[in-house]
């Protein structure tokens, strides 16, 4: 295919893009679509991004810089050469075809006249018909390209050339080259005008060959021309001849006159034709071919070439197509980095030294003041909880809520001016506040007013958790770690203000439990503090977490004896209140002695007792039902072991446990089904953890009414605890559980 000269395009900002560059871009896009693996285009992208120009320019640059660019360029070149070869071959064939046609139509035996109209028809009609078809198709806007690719000779030639190229070179590069070329052709005018060019050129060659041969033959032999008809009359042929001759006459060819036409009718006898007549007819013949065959094709060829050139220069990549549009974000990024403009010098500015104000200059005041409490930047409490927090046995010296500069100064002044030294200073802050330098400064100022380091109560834990859940819904891990990070930040800032870690507690004032109240009281230094029953749920859960970790590390099989050891350890935490929960579980006094004998009965009784505490919802879940049963059964063993140690490993616990669970699950199905269910629901780490967690929670709740226990269990265990719990998520699951446990207890406490 002849390469058109590079055309100057004013519409290409940033410099000319040559057609062959665009072609390469198309071929690259096709090639990337064929590749299954992602293409290594980072360097190419970088190169393209640095170039100043519009998106199309960058696409072209990128295509040229891709690793496959040279292969594709070669492939494109070969394909175009193949097509070119095909065109040349077709031209030669057309020429020869013209020659052969002329030879054929004038190949009459001696003395027979040539049927002039047959000759005209043979040489002109096919090409005129196709010309008419072409004229129709060329005016169809969009589909003319693809249609012409099939329906025109030019199209067939090009397709043939491409097919040939692919036969010789199978492979992706050539396939991509062909695809790229096709896309370039089928969009816009380039395709149809190229095919038109070729078609017209072919017919031109045909006509040239035909004409040449005709002239040669007419010059070297003598022909007589005649016309004949069966159904038409002479009157038809005369005007017909004149009509045909009309156009050639204007170009200077002579045409037969009426007498000559009349005399040329063939009537079965050899015709005697005057030279003039023969010459007139031959002139008509030649003229017709020139005017109806050669000239139109020549003109249209010129037209097509011109249009093709325009189309080629107007050709643009369709950047909205997905294969290009997906690169827009990469090549034309919406933003670019400027980098650090004003680098951080290094160490942070220190908080103003805390101890300076609390130097020896502070006069010693008499002790005996009430504990002071101040709230710092607290969010408005939704339930309108009383302020100051109600703690049994503590009367506060309320310094109020502090927020603005004036309020801060007022609080500091009030504390400094107090006649008596406060028993302690409790600063209530919200965990949702970010502890920054401003906070640190205020804490230091406050700390400077009292002799003993103040205490900090961090409230709003639930609110912080809710915020973090909203920010990152599903990931437990990062949520827990960011919660811990916030706590750690508070400890750091408080530490810089001189407040030791021991004086910082995390108590949610919106959800006060009895335990947290007593911690508050302790911090407030109240002389009478509630003899609070000490919380042991944290160490209990620690034991469970360690159990899970050990199981994951393979240190034990989480089988029944390991599980019962765990339950016993948990029970030991609560050993001082053992009589109470033993009564709760209805474990008889002489359990230790009786246990080995009717193990199965005891375990079943224990299991059933525990299950009584469970809410209906949980009883319907086989997993939790099994967990409750095993907690009860193993609880019995634990209780017995506390009275006097028994050789747990000697007992056939597993079968007893299985039977106990099955017995409990029986109402949910047949015995056999219950056994299967029991087995399925009671194996594995998650079952062990569920059982131990239930046990620990029950022990923690001893002293509460049964109904309370049921309610709390209902609130604590949620539906998505059916998720698979493995060792790595054990701690997170337990933390979540404990947190909900606290909330539920707090609700009960109100």
């Amino acid at each position: 295919m002849p390469t058109a000269p590079d055309s100057q395009t004013r519409e290409d900002p940033g410099g000319r893009i040559r057609f062959r560059d665009r072609l390469l871009a198309e071929a690259s896009a096709a090639w990337e679509q064929l590749e299954t693996a992602p293409v290594a285009d980072h360097e190419a992208n970088d190169l393209a991004r640095q170039f100043e120009g519009d998106f199309e320019h960058r696409l072209v640059r990128r295509a040229a810089a891709l690793p496959a660019a040279s292969t594709l360029a070669d492939a494109l070149h070969h394909v175009r050469s193949a097509v070119g070869l095909m065109i040349i071959a077709a031209l030669i064939a057309a020429l020869l075809g013209g020659i052969a046609t002329a030879r054929a139509v004038l190949g009459v035996p001696r003395d027979e006249p040539v049927n002039i109209f047959h000759v005209l028809a043979a040489t002109l009609l096919p090409q005129l018909a196709l010309l008419a078809l072409w004229l129709i198709v060329i005016f169809l806007p969009r589909s003319s390209g693809p249609l012409l690719s099939i329906a025109s000779l030019g199209g067939l030639v090009v397709r043939g050339g491409q097919w040939l190229a692919q036969r010789i070179h199978p492979g992706r590069a050539y396939a991509a080259a062909v695809a790229g070329l096709s896309r370039a052709f089928l969009r816009g005018g380039l395709g149809r005008w190229t095919f038109s060019c070729i078609s017209h050129a072919l017919w031109l060659a045909f006509n040239v060959g035909c004409l040449g041969m005709l002239v040669f033959l007419l010059s070297t032999r003598q022909y007589t021309f005649a016309w004949e008809t069966t159904i038409l009359s002479a009157e038809t042929y005369r005007p017909l001849t004149h009509a045909v001759a009309a156009l050639p006459k204007t170009s200077g060819f002579i045409s037969p006159s009426d007498e000559q036409i009349a005399s040329s009718r063939w009537e079965g006898v050899p015709l005697q034709q005057s030279e003039g007549t023969s010459q007139a007819w031959s002139s008509l013949l030649v003229g017709s071919i020139v005017v109806y065959g050669l000239a139109p094709r020549l003109l249209l060829l010129g037209l097509s070439l011109g249009q093709r050139r325009t189309a080629k220069s107007r050709y643009r990549l369709d950047v909205d197509r997905p294969e290009f549009a997906r690169l827009r974000g990469v090549l034309e990024p919406p933003a670019a980095m400027l980098g650090v403009v004003d680098a951080d010098a290094g160490a942070r500015a220190p908080v103003s030294p805390p101890r300076a104000a609390r130097a020896s200059g502070t006069m010693k005041r008499a002790a005996g003041g009430l504990p002071a409490i101040v709230g710092f930047e607290l969010p408005r409490s939704t339930d309108g909880n009383a302020w100051p927090p109600a703690v049994h046995g503590v009367r506060w010296h309320d310094l109020g809520m502090v927020d603005t500069r004036e309020e801060r100064q007022r609080a500091v002044a009030e504390l400094s001016r107090a006649a008596q030294e406060p028993a302690s200073l409790v600063i209530v802050c919200s965990l949702t506040t970010t502890p920054d330098r401003g906070v640190g400064t205020f804490l230091a100022d406050l700390a400077g007013t009292v002799a003993q380091p103040p205490a900090i109560v961090l409230t709003g834990g639930q609110r912080l958790r809710e915020r973090q859940t909203a920010d990152s819904p599903e990931s437990d891990h990062s949520r827990t770690s960011s919660f811990d990070a916030r706590l750690a930040d508070w400890r750091i800032v408080a530490g810089a203000a001189g407040i030791p870690e021991a004086r910082i507690i995390d108590v949610d004032l919106d959800h006060l439990t009895r335990a947290s109240q007593s911690r508050l009281a302790a911090i407030a230094g109240a002389s009478e503090s509630v003899a609070a029953h000490e919380r042991r749920i944290e160490p209990a859960f620690d034991l469970i977490a360690r159990f899970a970790a050990d199981a994951a590390a393979g240190k034990h099989m989480s089988d029944a004896s390991a599980l019962s050891v765990l339950h016993t350890e948990i029970a030991r935490l609560y050993s001082d209140s053992a009589p109470r929960w033993r009564t709760l579980l209805r474990v008889p006094e002489n359990a230790a002695a009786l246990l080995p004998q009717n193990l199965g009965e005891r375990l079943t009784a224990g299991a059933k007792r525990f299950v009584d505490f469970m809410p209906d919802r949980l009883k319907r879940s086989p997993k939790w039902l099994a967990a409750g049963a095993s907690a009860g059964a193993l609880g019995c063993i634990a209780a017995a072991a506390m009275i006097s140690p028994i050789a747990i490993s000697a007992l056939p616990i597993w079968s007893g446990l299985g039977a106990a669970i099955a017995a409990v699950m029986q109402p949910t199905g047949t015995k056999a089904q219950a056994e299967v269910n029991g087995e399925r629901s009671s194996g594995g780490i998650d079952a062990a953890m569920r059982s131990a967690a239930l046990f620990a929670m029950l022990l923690e709740m001893q002293g509460h009414q049964e109904r309370t226990i049921t309610r709390v269990l209902d609130a604590v265990v949620t539906d998505n605890d059916n998720a698979k719990i493995d060792a790595s998520r054990a701690r997170l699951w337990l933390n979540d559980l404990r947190h909900r446990f606290d909330l539920a207890l707090a609700k009960e406490a109100r």
Binding site: G329, A335, M337, T404
Partner: protein, 488 residues
């Protein structure tokens, strides 16, 4: 990148605010780049001023500067007041700020005389940037109460004599107190308040923010207009291109056919498995392209119990679980011998054969169709059958990719957590059974040459135009279906 000589200078915007309100998150969303700065919950994460440029057609239009958080604004205001009280002559407003910036409290340089020791270095950096910019965006965590320190910050900003647009962040949270904040801000004479939630990207909020900035900056009206239009254009383009990509996937998978000798079980099994594998890979390519288009990396798609993991669909395309997950009903039973996801039977082929023969009269498709079906007839005579993906698979592909597209459109760049695609069992996001889409799918099945999954033949190149038309129509139908289901 050199700006052309006669372009307007870029608009400089300083993003300030109390520490940990989401300034860096806002910038990540605006620049569509998740690697900008460092976002975390710890105080004073941003210690320095970091800049980014928003480009319009490759040229810088807006320069954004992320500043260190204002941590001790109460102390700073107190300092400014003290200086004013102690100054020899009365200085106000911006001169105060400048005086402060020159002092040692700001620079940490002891030569200036006061004993501040660089206490307010961080605040000084932020204020210096504000003075060097044309406008300041003051970011507020809408979940916080209106506190004294906020008032002091606004007071300090007011003295900088630059237009200020307050941006309320986290407005989607139930704790957000938008009305209170607006009231308080209007008392400080700030009425053009923008709302943002950097976790959920709503296409209109960014536009409104830019419009509010435009209303305060006469001089840069044209720049901001250009930016707004560019963003709008890109957004629309993203959706269109994504739908085209999904349509491309459907055509490639739907049109693909493999001929197998029906009698040879082993060969049939092999062919099935390799076909499934190719379909899986093709789907993965579509996912990668969608991610690249939206400028997200594979690591962003992670799953716990959810369908996507490390950039791949976690549930196999051909498992019943996948269909259930996306609500694709298992329709009428295929002929005996059908395997999940694929159809294999002469009967199906026979039906299409008949229909296609009738179609064969069309000029445009004539050669292609005759060629294909000529081969098919031969295959039948040789005892082969045809293996292709069935309707359920196509519907599932549509549903999955549609869900992914919606999630990508919804997510803001600043959220630290990966995208999670909600379990939408029951309501497929794209209705694969709508008549338009079903009709197009039938058309696709008639043109096996349109699929790029097979060895590339010359036929594809030349039926490109028809394929492209169908692709565009399918993309429009997908877009319409998605838009009707939820906001895109």
């Amino acid at each position: 990148m050199n700006a052309p000589a006669n372009a307007a200078p870029a608009l400089k915007v300083a993003v300030v605010g109390h520490t940990n309100t989401g300034k860096t998150s806002l910038l990540r969303t605006l620049t569509r780049d998740e690697t900008f700065g460092e976002v975390s919950d710890r105080p004073a994460t941003t210690r320095h001023v970091e800049g980014a440029m928003l480009l319009v057609r490759g040229q810088p239009a807006v320069e954004l500067y992320d500043t260190p958080g204002l941590e001790d604004s109460i102390g700073l205001l107190e300092l400014l007041e003290r200086h004013r009280a102690g100054a020899a002559s009365r200085i106000d407003g911006i001169d105060q700020i400048r005086a402060f910036l020159g002092s040692s409290d700001a620079t940490g340089d002891a030569s200036a005389g006061t004993n501040g020791g660089g206490r307010f270095q961080q605040e000084a950096k932020a204020l210096r940037q504000v003075l060097a910019s044309d406008i300041a965006l003051y970011v507020i965590d809408a979940r916080d109460r209106v506190l004294g320190k906020h008032r002091d910050e606004l007071e300090i900003l007011a003295r900088c004599a630059k237009p200020v647009v307050p941006v309320l962040n986290f407005v989607a949270s139930p704790e957000a107190q938008i009305a209170l904040w607006r009231e308080h801000l209007s008392r400080a004479n700030l009425h053009a308040v923008a709302e943002f939630d950097t976790v959920v990207l709503d296409d209109q909020t960014e536009r409104r923010l830019l419009e509010k900035m435009r209303s305060l900056l006469d001089h840069h009206h044209a720049t901001l207009n250009a930016l707004i239009e560019e963003r709008e254009r890109l957004r629309a383009g993203l959706i269109t291109t994504s739908c085209l990509m999904i349509a491309d996937l459907i055509i490639d998978v739907g049109a693909h056919q493999v001929s197998v000798p029906a009698q040879d079980r082993l060969q049939v099994q092999d062919a099935m498995e390799s076909l499934r594998q190719r379909i899986r890979e093709r789907e993965q390519r579509c996912v990668d392209q969608l991610l690249q288009l939206h400028r997200f990396s594979r690591q962003d798609l992670a799953a716990t119990d959810l369908p996507m993991h490390d950039g791949r669909w976690g549930v196999d395309l051909f498992s019943p679980a996948a269909m259930k997950q996306f609500g694709v009903r298992t329709g009428s039973a295929a002929a005996a011998g059908a395997v999940a996801g694929l159809t294999i039977d002469a009967m199906v082929g026979g039906l299409t054969l008949g229909a296609a023969t009738a179609l064969g009269a069309a000029i445009g498709g004539a050669l292609g169709v005759a060629h294909t079906h000529g081969r098919r007839i031969l295959d039948r005579m040789r005892g082969h059958s045809e293996l292709a993906a069935d309707d359920r698979t196509l519907q599932l592909l549509l549903a999955r990719q549609g869900a992914l597209l919606q999630a990508l459109q919804r997510r803001g760049h600043a959220s630290l957590e990966p995208i999670h695609i909600n379990d939408v069992a029951g309501t497929p996001q794209v209705d694969g059974k709508s008549s338009t889409i079903a009709g197009l799918m039938d058309d696709i099945r008639l043109h096996p040459s349109w699929s790029r999954l097979q060895e590339f033949g010359p036929a594809l190149a030349w039926s490109e135009a028809a394929r492209q038309t169908v692709q565009e129509r399918l993309a429009k139908a997908i877009h319409a279906s998605l838009a009707s289901r939820a906001t895109l």
